[in-house]
């Protein structure tokens, strides 16, 4: 069977010789489960998808007739919207389910909810769930594709991919980059996906944060160095990734105050000077202005936060495309 690439229909994939041959997974749950080549494939597909997003008519028929369920057990605005836009630009039909409107509040188990959804024959379930590993649980039981939109403190692969794409846009490569990630590493799924993806692609990750927020053994996750001081991590960095601090979620035992946190672990113009001159400032959002990021930095020339958001749609289009088998219906 001839596998047609998106390029045949849209003209945007003219250089996509291999089509989708490199991607064999039914699901995308964690970047740590993907090879370097698979990550590269997702990133280059995303680059191509970006072209669609800049058109007047931002829609291709690639996933026409496919049904995508966005199953969000945790509140999310940007990730859910981004996945939904991504699906719509590929002409898939989308349904959004969130806990307040779902049967989760009626005490239905995840397994039952998913099996019921499956009976309605969705092609892809995009799920966010508060419990780490829930997607593996689901993927074992369901024949449709599962995409992880964030699970507990485990992974957030679409965020990791969009972060990498944003860095690659600027530097052309991820190999050899010094990336500082600062904040609550313990509770951050973004940090884990970034670490998994970046270290596979040859970057060196430097972590900093209060010791109450650095999980044991994290330096064994790859080419990762834990720094005592935020300045050490930021010094000569190509990228400074600041994580959102969530005092309400992480409890009161980890920090005395946001004020002190901002003093020691917040990124302000003075600390940023330690980084390379053209270093990128990134943040997965939403930002706590004046806490982990001063507004001067967030809105400054080095901030790439909105590029991240823009790339989010393209990356998610690529993820949806590849788990769908990346094939176009034959005419």
């Amino acid at each position: 069977m001839v596998t047609k690439t998106l390029g045949d229909r849209t003209g945007c994939f003219s250089d996509d010789e291999g089509g989708n041959m490199g991607f064999k997974h039914k699901d995308i749950i964690a970047l740590k489960d993907l090879t370097k080549e698979e990550i590269e494939l997702l990133l280059s597909t995303a680059e191509n998808m970006r072209e669609i997003n800049s058109r007047d008519i931002k829609k291709v028929p690639t996933l026409r007739g496919k049904t995508i369920v966005n199953l969000f057990y945790e509140a999310s605005t940007r990730t859910r919207t981004s996945f939904e836009i991504a699906a719509k630009r590929l002409s898939a039909d989308t349904v959004n389910i969130s806990p307040s409107t779902s049967s989760a509040t009626k005490g239905e188990t995840l397994s039952d909810t998913a099996l019921n959804l499956l009976a309605m024959k969705p092609d892809i379930i995009v799920m966010r769930h508060a419990i780490s590993g829930s997607h593996y649980f689901l993927a074992k039981r369901l024949s449709c594709s599962i995409i992880n939109a964030g699970d507990g403190a485990h992974e957030h692969p679409s965020q990791g991919l969009l972060d990498m794409l944003t860095m690659r846009d600027k530097f052309g490569t991820l190999a050899g980059l010094k990336v500082a990630i600062v904040g609550d590493i313990t509770h951050s799924r973004v940090a884990r996906s970034d670490i998994a993806g970046l270290t596979k692609m040859g970057s060196h990750v430097f972590l900093a944060g209060p010791p109450t927020m650095i999980p044991p053994g994290v330096e064994k996750l790859g080419n990762v160095t834990v720094c005592k001081d935020m300045r050490e991590a930021v010094e000569d960095a190509d990228v400074v990734m600041m994580l959102r601090i969530q005092l309400e979620r992480q409890g009161k035992t980890l920090l005395p105050s946001l004020r002190e946190y901002a003093r020691y672990y917040g990124l302000n113009p003075e600390v940023l000077k330690l980084a390379k001159k053209d270093a990128m400032v990134m943040h997965p959002g939403p930002i706590n202005r004046g806490v982990e990021l001063s507004s001067y930095v967030a809105d400054g020339a080095q901030s790439h936060i909105l590029n991240q958001v823009e790339n989010g749609v393209a990356v998610r289009m690529a993820m949806l495309y590849h788990v769908s088998g990346g094939e176009l219906p034959t005419e």
Binding site: K32, S111, I131, G133, G152, H154, E155
Partner: protein
């Protein structure tokens, strides 16, 4: 019941015996150990050539879930599982529904076990009413009704003052306190051991120090009150060290570990496998090594399974939501026999940990093949190979991390008071 067990290798640490002997049972009691003994009138003869003959194994830490949680296990299925695993006696923890914190529940367990149980059941009562950690339970009453120890197993007695008084009061009643030592504040919402695996899986960790400091507290309280204390399910290097030091000081402290703590590390949780979720959680390689050293040097007195049956619906869920615990009665013996292969224990040591010592700790006249002892006997084929399957397990629940695993060693006859209650030959 009359019985002759012929030509087996008899291992009886209570008499320092390890030799090929016949065991003669008359009217449910051990009559004689010797060579060339004659079969008793009207009695059966078991050919035990190539097999081990030991005092009946005694599991001092099981959850039979009866009354109230019979959908997980009950006295009938739980004691069948015990027999299949070679255990002639089990001591069952009080976290039933309602909690076994009074003589009425104790009497129910004793009566049902007598009527329908396959092996001996020795109930353990609660330390505090409802195991809520607020008011002492009626230990004297429960002891009279048949309880052999008290424990709030499943949760610690969080209040140190109450634990102190429990130790003092229990000493007066002549009943052993079994501590579930855990500092709840440090456990928090943890669901597995805190360490690299938890970091990678993004799961909340339970630090080892949560067990260590609680064991230290309970050991100090036992020493201060000059009371005996038994520490349940020791899983950390730190606990082993604390108990070793306490014993060296002369404290009346004993402890147990479970087969999973010397067989598995927290690596088993990878894949978010809920059949590797229990409390205390599976630890790390250095803890496993310390547990083995503790078994070898006598710091750890007993191997108990912490058999904790749960329904499929309680395990086949997201990791954080799964209940803690695994079944253990039917896999304990082959896992413990591995320790013999690894020279952590010799066979006498193994029988001590799984029969004689638990009997001593609970003050029971079991764990021995001395003449006149009740003829609870386990006949073991250490070479028998088998595979753990859900269908093959007698327990009502199948929550074992060893499903599909190959095992070596099995009970071939489980004999309670001279009667063969389980046969696998």
């Amino acid at each position: 019941m009359n019985l002759l067990i012929k030509g087996g290798r008899v291992i009886d640490p209570s008499q320092n015996i390890d030799e090929t002997l016949d065991v003669l049972v008359v009217e449910g009691k051990i009559k004689e150990l010797g060579k060339g003994l004659k079969a008793p009138q009207g009695g059966d003869v078991i050919d035990a050539k190539g097999l081990l003959v030991t005092p009946g194994l005694l599991d001092m830490h099981v959850h039979l879930r009866d009354p109230g949680l019979e959908y997980k296990e009950d006295i009938v299925t739980g004691t069948r599982a015990a027999a299949a695993g070679g255990f002639t006696s089990v001591a069952c923890m009080p976290n039933t529904k309602p909690v076994n914190d009074n003589k009425a529940i104790t009497s129910y367990i004793v009566a049902k076990a007598k009527a329908e149980g396959t092996v001996n059941v020795f109930p353990i009562g609660a330390i505090t009413q409802g195991s809520k950690g607020e008011t002492l339970a009626e230990m004297g009453d429960m002891k009279e009704a048949g309880c052999v120890a008290v424990s709030d197993d499943g949760r610690p007695v969080a209040n140190a003052e109450l634990m102190r008084r429990a130790l003092e009061y229990a000493k007066g009643m002549g009943i052993m306190v079994i501590a579930h030592s855990e500092e709840i504040a440090l456990v928090g919402e943890g669901v597995m051991n805190e360490g690299f695996t938890a970091t990678e899986l993004g799961l909340k960790g339970i630090p080892r120090v949560a067990e260590d400091i609680a064991v230290a507290r309970d050991v100090y309280l036992a020493e201060y009150t000059n009371s005996p204390l038994h520490v349940a399910h020791v899983s950390t290097k730190g606990s082993v060290r604390i108990i070793r030091d306490a014993k060296a000081r002369g404290a009346k402290v004993t402890c147990e570990t479970a087969p999973h703590y010397f067989s598995l590390t927290d690596d088993a949780v990878r894949g978010y496998d809920t059949s590797a979720k229990m409390n205390p959680p599976l630890r790390e390689a250095d803890d496993v090594a310390a547990i083995k050293t503790g078994l070898f040097d006598g710091t750890i007195d007993a191997i108990a399974t912490d058999h904790a049956p749960h329904h499929l619906d309680e395990k086949d869920v997201e990791f954080n939501l799964a209940l803690n615990g695994i079944i253990g009665l039917e896999t304990a013996l082959p896992l413990a026999l591995k320790l013999v292969g690894e020279k952590v224990l010799d066979l006498k040591g193994l029988v001590e940990k799984m029969s004689l010592n638990p009997a001593k700790i609970l003050g029971l006249d079991r764990g021995t093949l001395k003449p006149e002892a009740i003829a609870d006997i386990t006949v073991i084929d250490p070479e028998q190979e088998w595979t753990v399957t859900p269908e093959g397990l007698a327990s009502k629940s199948k929550n074992s991390p060893w499903l599909g695993a190959k095992m070596k060693g099995a009970a071939v006859y489980t004999i309670v008071a001279g009667k063969v209650v389980y046969k696998n030959a």
